[in-house]
Symmetry: C2
């Protein structure tokens, strides 16, 4: 049996997940394409699979027409598979934490999650960022999000609740990256693309760091965060 | 006098610059917004300025209606100024060179140009990439492109014509970044987002490097390139 109508109730429910309010209401989100389908499969979070690929089989697989799949997808030339997934569950806070306060660009959030996993900042805290389950963020993470412990929390609350962590903010007038003291429990906070970190947060950090450049301009926040995480990952604590 | 019609010949010519073929034909491109206008002003490349801001004055300033400006702009909520600029001229090849072979995402190209300037890779060679004068690339560079020497050339031709350079490719099975030998003339080559570098290029490099990660996935190419350039910029040659 193949779903041929976009008015099919399952399809209508899935279409709602293009909006954040319904993702929050149903605690579900959509991932597109074979790579993310494979990654999601490892984590037991898939609720439904919509596909035009008859080689994919299972109780929760629904075959659809190209037209229905195209409607469900946010990419212009979608791959043949798309899944509705349960949102990710929180795990324990790890030793290395990345805190993102105000990141608004989906590409930057995706990139930072991908780098966080690569450099073993396995907990990521989102404070007033673009929605994690935005389709562009999900594509940008390339599946890294499934492996991470990602939670929503105010940066300032984290600092108050976890005093054992050394917490570095990022600021243009900070100490050079090379001067940071590495310890087991360490958090890095990155701010908004335009404004950087708020003074409220900067005043609560252990110290603030900067990456030395030729001084013409600041770096893209995804790049800056990745350079810092790479640097920390290479040092013994 | 204010231009009120999108059929005005100057406006019609500028609109053509949304297409690469006309940018190449006229050797012109468009930049949007106050920041890029200011940056472009430093380099004597502005041909026309279209604006709704009466505080901007000059022989090459044309006041336009909001409607005309919105039509000329590629951003959804454009700032009040937009310039038609002459394409950038080539300068001498510098000691540190970034070679981009096959980068297709405008955001990645913009980020890499911004990081190249920050870490003083002042020559960037484009081999089969997305167009430098694409509006998203220009926005991504934040003006960095004006300061750089950017030229189109095959990566392999660069290696043949500049044998004094030590040339590092990037490959998942490369030597660790920390093992690279720094010398005065040094080039880094980054490849396509999906495929990486071609074997044709990989076989011509002095050596190939990799950034050690937790092994789940590779890094975004903009991040990888920026980490390498940051690393090189911190070492004495």
């Amino acid at each position: 049996m193949e779903i041929t109508s976009v008015n099919n109730p399952l399809v209508k429910d899935a279409l709602k997940l293009h909006q954040k309010k319904y993702r929050d209401m149903f605690n579900l989100f959509i991932v597109e394409g074979y790579h993310l389908f494979e990654e999601a499969s490892k984590f037991d979070i898939i609720k439904y699979i919509f596909t035009t690929d008859k080689s994919i089989k299972g109780d929760n697989v629904f075959y659809v027409t190209n037209q229905v799949l195209t409607k469900l997808a946010k990419t212009k030339s979608p791959q043949k598979v798309l899944c509705v997934c349960h949102k990710l569950k929180n795990k324990d806070i790890t030793n290395k934490v990345l805190i993102l306060a105000g990141i608004q660009d989906p590409g930057n959030l995706g990139t930072l999650l991908r780098s966080a996993l690569a450099f073993e900042f396995n907990t990521v805290i989102l404070d007033n960022t673009v929605d994690l389950y935005n389709d562009k963020v999900i594509r940008g993470t390339q599946g890294a999000m499934f492996y991470l412990n990602i939670l929503e929390m105010k940066a300032v609350d984290f600092i108050n609740e976890y005093p054992e962590y050394i917490v570095y903010g990022t600021a243009l007038d900070g100490i050079p990256l090379e001067k940071i003291r590495i310890q087991k429990e360490l958090a890095i906070i990155l701010g908004n693309e335009g404004q950087g970190l708020t003074s409220k947060i900067l005043n609560k950090t252990t110290n603030n760091i900067t990456i030395r450049t030729n001084d013409v301009d600041s770096l893209n926040v995804g790049v800056a965060g990745s350079i810092i995480m790479h640097y920390v990952s290479r040092l013994p604590f």
